[in-house]
C-alpha cells in the first residue's frame, strides 16, 4: 500500500528514537535505584539503631513516601520544585521523585532485615568484645543482606516500571518515545508490544541478577 509503511520499515526508521527511550529508562532506573539504595541503607540503619529524634524524622519520610502514589510524587516533584523556584529539568525532577520513593522502600527493607537478625547474634558479638560498628559490619549486615535481596529486587523492578510514569511530565523515556513513534506512524499495537517486551526483558534481567545474589548468599542458613 502506498504511503503506508510496514511495521518493519517504521521500526527501522524509529530505531534510534526507541533506543534512546530505552537508554533513558535504563538511566532513570539505575539512578533512582542507586540513590534509593544509598538513602535506604543509611535510613534503614538509622531507623534500627538511631536516636529517637532521627528515627521519628525518618519514620515520617518513609511512611509519607510509601503512602503516596508514585505518580503524585512525580507531579509534586516536578511542579512543586518549580513553584519553589528551583529550576530543574523534568529528568532531574523524575529522578528526585523515583529516588526518594525507592529510598523510602529500601529504608524499610533494610530496617526490617536488620531487625530480623536474632538478638543472640548481637549478644554473641558483644560478648567477644566487638565494637558497635564491627558488630554491624561483620555480624549483622552479612546476615541481613541475604534477607534484603528479595524485597530489594522487587523495589528495583518497581522503579523500572515507575519510570514509565515520567512520560506524564515529558521525560522521553521508553514509553513516551514509543508514543511519539506511534503518533508519527499510526502503527499502535506492534510498537506498544515492542515497549512491553523491552520492559519485560529489563525486569527479567534484574530478577536474574537478584536470583544470582540469593544463590551467592545461600550458604547462610538459619
Amino acid at each position: 500500500m502506498d504511503g503506508q509503511q510496514t511495521f518493519w520499515q517504521a521500526a527501522w526508521i524509529a530505531r534510534f528514537a526507541l533506543l534512546n527511550g530505552l537508554l533513558a529508562t535504563i538511566e532513570l532506573s539505575l539512578l533512582s535505584i542507586a540513590i534509593g539504595t544509598i538513602i535506604g541503607s543509611l535510613g534503614g540503619i538509622a531507623l534500627q539503631y538511631g536516636a529517637w529524634p532521627l528515627r521519628a524524622l525518618l519514620r515520617i519520610y518513609v511512611d509519607t513516601l510509601r503512602g503516596i502514589p508514585v505518580l503524585v510524587l512525580i507531579l509534586a516533584s516536578y511542579y512543586g520544585l518549580s513553584l519553589a523556584k528551583i529550576q530543574i529539568s523534568a529528568f532531574t525532577a523524575g529522578v528526585v521523585a523515583l529516588g526518594g520513593f525507592c529510598g523510602a522502600h529500601v529504608s524499610e527493607t533494610v530496617r526490617g532485615a536488620l531487625g530480623s537478625i536474632p538478638i543472640g547474634q548481637t549478644e554473641a558479638a558483644k560478648a567477644i568484645g566487638l565494637r558497635p560498628f564491627q558488630r554491624l559490619w561483620y555480624v549483622i549486615v552479612p546476615q541481613a543482606l541475604r534477607r534484603m535481596v528479595g524485597p530489594w529486587v522487587n523495589t528495583a523492578v518497581e522503579m523500572v516500571k515507575g519510570s514509565s510514569l515520567l512520560a506524564i511530565i515529558g521525560v522521553v523515556e521508553l514509553l513516551l518515545a514509543t508514543k511519539q513513534v506511534i503518533a508519527r506512524t499510526s502503527i499502535v499495537i506492534p510498537f506498544y508490544l515492542v515497549a512491553c517486551l523491552a520492559y519485560l526483558l529489563l525486569n527479567f534481567a534484574i530478577a536474574q541478577a537478584g536470583a544470582l545474589l540469593e544463590r551467592r548468599f545461600s550458604y547462610i542458613k538459619a
Binding site: A124, G129, Y138, Y219
Partner: protein, 252 residues
C-alpha cells in the same frame, strides 16, 4: 575480683567475691535471677545500683563526682573482651565457618594477624575435638558440636573470666556429655568460671563453690558437697528434690 550488686527488680542484692581460678556454680529455679546476674556481669543487661569489678576495674560504669556514669560503648567493648560468654542457644555466626567464628574476635578485637589467629583457632578446635569441622558452617554441626565451637570461640580470646549460661539446656541429652567434658577440662586448667547450670551432677563435679539463688538473692552458698548434699534451707531441699540429683532440666 570483686563483685557487688545492688537492688534491681530481679536482683535484690547479690554480693559475691570470686577469687581467680574459682569455678562458681550458680543454681536456682527459673526466675531466681541467676541468668540475669550472669548477663549483668558483661553488661548484656543494665543494672541500676551496685558495681562489678574485674581485677579491680569497675565494669561498664565509672563514678564521676559521686554519680554513676556509663562508659562509652567502645570502652565497654574492650572490657567485654576480657569476659568470655557461652550462651544457652550457642549463637554461632551462621554466615561464617567454624574457624572464622573463632578467628573473628582474635583478628578484629585482639588485632592478631590472620595466620596467628588461624593457628590459635586450630589449637582450640583441637582441644574441643573438632579439628575436622574447621571449614564447616554451623548448620552442618550438631548442637553439641556447635556449643563446643562456641566455647572455643570464647576461650580463644583468653578471657579473665568465663560466663556459662545454661550451656547444655538446649541440647539433646546424648550430646550433653561432650560439652560438659570440654568445660570440665577448662575448669581443671584453672579458668575462672561462673556456671549457671541445671546439671547438678556436673555442678557438684566441677564447682569449687556453689550458690543457690532464690528470688533475686543468694539464699545459700558453700562448697558443693555441703550445698548439694546437706542443704540447710527448706527451699533448697525442695529445689534439689525436684532434680533428684540427676538429669537435665528444661531451660529457665
Amino acid at each position: 575480683m570483686h563483685k557487688r550488686f545492688g537492688r534491681t527488680e530481679v536482683l535484690k542484692g547479690v554480693s559475691l567475691d570470686i577469687p581467680r581460678g574459682e569455678v562458681l556454680g550458680i543454681i536456682g529455679s527459673s526466675g531466681s535471677g541467676k541468668t540475669t546476674f550472669l548477663r549483668c556481669i558483661n553488661l548484656l543487661e543494665e543494672y541500676e545500683v551496685g558495681t562489678i569489678e574485674l581485677d579491680g576495674q569497675a565494669i561498664g560504669y565509672r563514678m564521676i563526682a559521686g554519680r554513676r556514669k556509663r562508659l562509652r560503648e567502645s570502652e565497654i567493648s574492650d572490657q567485654r573482651a576480657e569476659i568470655g560468654m557461652v550462651f544457652q542457644s550457642f549463637n554461632l555466626f551462621p554466615h561464617m565457618t567454624v574457624e572464622q567464628n573463632i578467628m573473628l574476635g582474635l583478628t578484629k578485637v585482639r588485632r592478631m594477624p590472620s595466620a596467628a589467629a588461624r593457628t590459635l583457632a586450630g589449637a582450640w578446635l583441637d582441644r574441643v575435638g573438632l579439628t575436622d569441622k574447621r571449614d564447616l558452617y554451623p548448620y552442618q554441626l550438631s548442637g553439641g558440636q556447635q556449643q563446643r565451637v562456641a566455647i572455643a570461640r570464647a576461650v580463644a580470646m583468653e578471657p579473665k573470666l568465663m560466663l556459662l549460661d545454661e550451656v547444655t539446656s538446649a541440647l539433646d541429652p546424648e550430646l550433653v556429655g561432650e560439652v560438659l567434658n570440654v568445660i570440665r577440662g577448662l575448669a581443671h586448667s584453672g579458668m575462672t568460671m561462673l556456671v549457671v547450670s541445671h546439671e547438678m551432677h556436673f555442678v557438684r563435679d566441677i564447682a569449687t563453690r556453689v550458690v543457690f539463688m532464690e528470688g533475686g538473692r543468694i539464699a545459700e552458698e558453700g562448697p558443693p558437697g555441703e550445698i548439694l548434699m546437706r542443704p540447710r534451707s527448706a527451699r533448697l531441699v525442695s529445689f534439689l528434690n525436684r532434680f533428684h540429683g540427676t538429669g537435665s532440666q528444661p531451660a529457665g
